[in-house]
Subunit: 191 residues, 2 copies
Amino acid sequence: MAAKTTRRQIVDAADDLFYSGGFSQTSFADIAAAVKISRGNFYYHFKSKDEILDAVIGKRLDDREKLLASWDQTAESPASRIECFIKIVIVNQAKIMAYGCPVGTLTAELTKLDHASKEKANKIMALFRDWLTRQFEELGCVDFADEHALHVLSWSQGVATLAQTFKDETFVQREVRQIVSWLNDIDQDTL
Amino acid sequence: MAAKTTRRQIVDAADDLFYSGGFSQTSFADIAAAVKISRGNFYYHFKSKDEILDAVIGKRLDDREKLLASWDQTAESPASRIECFIKIVIVNQAKIMAYGCPVGTLTAELTKLDHASKEKANKIMALFRDWLTRQFEELGCVDFADEHALHVLSWSQGVATLAQTFKDETFVQREVRQIVSWLNDIDQDTL
DNA sequence: TCACAATTAGGACAATTGCCCTAATTCGTC
DNA sequence: GACGAATTAGGGCAATTGTCCTAATTGTGA
């Protein structure tokens, strides 16, 4: 029990620190200090920093899967589910303005580092892509489902990046309004 | 002469390395090795790593200003100038797929580091924003010029991020086609 | 209560970091 | 050619990095 809890504490703390400060800039000492354990104890649970990163990516994958699954259950129409995705940028506005998109910034960093776990990090993005594609398929636009999915995903990354740069709340809201209107047009057309 | 050349060599090498590997991950030794000079010589030209970053950002600002100025001269209509901007993602496709957008990834990294030069890095983004705003104003849509500018800028960041993640050439080309079509619609409306 | 495994603590390591110093070399100018 | 300034080389610094080690402390089951 204690072990599992400690391990989970480490992963959670690393998740936050990797998000707010970046992976390579976060040190063993930083995580250990956040969890308030010794480095020795730390190394008992994870043999290397890369192993922690792997666990963090795994956790993020799980978290997003659960989030998408909850939307699958609560939201009735595929359009409203896509809208849930779109509005993450509003729900998480404060954090996005401070640290950007947790998925986009991590994949970008790991790609630059040419890190071994970059492919795994890309899976989070692919998870969103596949889920969005499914929603657009259910919406009726089978031929363009993947294109639309990439379009929405790309949109979210752009909004996140500019939100982080300019910290303009009205920009985010306006962009959300526009893409939702675009989504409704598609929904209309496929009736 | 030799001094100026050496200094320029350092800045150029740092520019490349900061782009391909990130700022914090690039060390003094990396840059010195790229330029093939001793660390002592290195330190003669720059007192600290932050000073190099400052010079690199300054150089990037200059480069972009020149690029925009060249478009101002060569392209005849504001619409075709905006199209020049849009098509950077195609012109620089290979590098973008490997390292993302040089502007977006740097601002994201410096924001996470809470680095003193983050505001200066944001100026590069603001430079594009202001230039795009001017183009949309000349296009006739005075009231929505800044909104459109942010929209195009946001679009470019999203495309760059996803291009880096999925390395999908057709995605980039499709997105360019779509935004150009959107641009033409605006151009049409304001006649 | 005892033995044994799981967990934690903390010291130590080689390597790397950004940074600083002094001595040598090159350069332009008289 | 000689002189002073500009430039370069390279050693060395303290601090931090990720990693590893051993000893102490827990908890658990017999």
